[in-house]
């Protein structure tokens, strides 16, 4: 067990997985010589060689499209998209091929592609360095998606993604890449996809008024519906928090599941605290967009008073 920053845990996972399986290779923009703009791939090229950690042309659809062919040649590609919003050109390949190629072969061929990228706002960056694109990805059949929020999960979920036989997207919260520090198991560490995590049993700000469970969904597909329903049954009141824009965000999916399966447990409406249906704002006013502690507490109080 070592204490690591979240981005160091990502780097550790890549070192362990490349060391464990010769067919795993990392490709992306600036991942080799520079070690990634966030240093997530630092040291890989030196340790595993330039053919296992490849600086590609600046071409996101090319990276993901090449990954499809690399799978056919027996590789297990881990593609880095440099930023959330820079990944959009790769959606063409993701939607038209990555999510459906195995299906198209009648299950004969596997496409164990991992797509990892830093995501989310709050980092005082120019436009299109701040997006939360999970809905685009998870709406695509054939694609799995995980979002870690602790260093241990950043390592374990990435390892699970790399080992998974299906294509998996991992969104890494860049805001806490270098602020979130925690214990990370050494060596091989896998956190299975499809398991939510009870992050805390009570939230401090609300401790005096009510007991609050925080559920980290962690894996959007496969989704741990049981954990969601169990949590809802304990409290009867659910606030869903997401940074992505509101309409058809993943929170809407969770709310729909609660409406379908937890109606008798609910003691009030399912409320969402989300980003807004606007382009992610310029950073001088980005805090106004982010789901703040105040907005979460306000929603929780509204629900308690319902």
């Amino acid at each position: 067990m070592a204490e690591r920053l979240l981005v160091e845990a990502v780097n550790d996972a890549l070192h362990v997985e490349l060391g464990r399986d010769d067919s795993v290779m990392v490709l992306g923009e600036d991942v080799g010589r520079a070690g990634g703009v966030f240093r997530a791939t630092a040291g890989l090229r030196e340790r595993f060689g330039e053919n296992r950690c490849v600086d590609t042309p600046l071409a996101e659809a090319g990276i993901l499209g090449a990954a499809v062919g690399l799978c056919m040649a027996g590789w297990r590609p881990v593609c880095e998209m440099q930023y959330d919003a820079f990944s959009y050109p790769c959606l063409d390949q993701l939607i038209t091929h990555v999510g459906r190629y195995r299906w198209r072969t009648g299950g004969a061929m596997e496409f164990p592609i991992t797509i990892r990228m830093p995501y989310g706002g709050g980092v005082r960056a120019p436009e299109l360095h701040d997006d939360s694109p999970e809905t685009y990805y998870v709406h695509t059949p054939g694609i799995k998606l995980a979002i870690p929020s602790t260093p241990a999960d950043a390592k374990g979920l990435l390892a699970a993604a790399i080992r998974d036989p299906d294509p998996v997207v991992v969104l890494e919260p860049k805001l806490i890449y270098r602020t979130e520090r925690g214990e990370v198991p050494d060596g091989e560490h896998v956190v299975p996809l499809g398991k939510a995590r009870v992050a805390r049993a009570a939230a401090d700000e609300l401790a005096a008024e009510a007991s609050c469970e925080v559920l980290d969904i962690r894996s959007l597909r496969p989704l741990d519906e049981d954990a969601l329903l169990e949590s809802a049954s304990k409290t009867g009141r659910v606030v869903i928090v997401q940074e992505a824009p509101r309409t058809v965000g993943f929170g809407a999916e969770l709310a729909a599941i609660l409406a379908e399966k937890a109606i008798l447990d609910l003691r009030g409406p399912v409320l969402r605290v989300t980003g807004f249906d606007v382009p992610y704002p310029y950073w001088k006013i980005e805090d106004a967009y982010m789901p703040s502690v105040e907005r979460v507490i306000s929603a929780a109080r509204r629900l308690l008073e319902f």
């Binding site: 053919n51 590789w75 059949p141």
Partner: protein, 338 residues
Amino acid sequence: MAQVAHRSVIDEERELDGVGERELLDIYRSMVLLRTYDERSLVYHRQGRIGTYAIFWNHEAMQAGSVHALADEDWIFPSYRESAIGLLRGMPPATVLHWWRGHPAGWWNPADYNVASICVPIATHVPHAAGLAWGKKLKGEPACAIAYFGDGATSEGAFHEGANFAAVMQAPLILFCNNNQWAISTPLHAQTHAETLADKAVGYGMPGVRVDGGDVLAVYEATREAVDRARAGEGPTFIEAVTYRAAPHATADDPRAYIDLARVEQEKKNECLGRYERYLRRLGMLGDELEAEIKAEAVEAMRRGIAEAEAEPDPDPELVFEHAYVDPPPNLREGWLG
């Protein structure tokens, strides 16, 4: 300009080095098989026995000529215009007919034939071919890849990204453009301002070659050279095979609204299979009897193929949930009554 002379073999009455009578007749058999597949498919479509179908009539020289220049370990990445190209690798006609009948029995394992799945969206398979070729090279395997696409595909971003990727990685790839001068109703001059499509190769740092796409031996020769380069570690080659679309884009298309009908008639008179037959006859390799025999074999293969396809039971609706995931999410069947 990268332009190489528009290469031809048949019109120049040349003979190819190292290609004997047996190989020439094998190429002929392949062309006949493809032509027969295509013509029968049009009939089957009109009879309601297959769905919408992308016609490749007069593209057989490009497909057969290039495939014969490959080794079995080389990978083929077809577009929908090359839907039946797997037949040249031993794929049963029924499999391709199933594909056009919307039946999951039209799925195949690409590794069984080294033929990737039919790519429906334009040019998006070019990066796959680049990745496969690069991946084989990284593993030290000798295989190369060929990606087929039309003139319209060269306008797509995926074409550019795949071509550039292949060049940067010096991947053993052949980019095979069947320039039939039409993308449905859009003529070549509305697709590009480049003088030739082969000129685009310069920008990627790879050779660009132009061949007569109706001349199966010119296609064979150009592809063989590209394969030799690829295997020698010299990277990708762009081949522009120039032809003219003498048939509708697909069964759902009526080109009379936009195409030059006089030109179509002229192209039909000079279609690629007839040109090759006349060449083989001039060399004394093909007579009436052999021609009839080869054509009868192809007709019989198609007769068996459609019979087999039509004998296949309707697929189980449960297949809706199969094959997208090795390890499906637990809520996949939410709402299913079956």
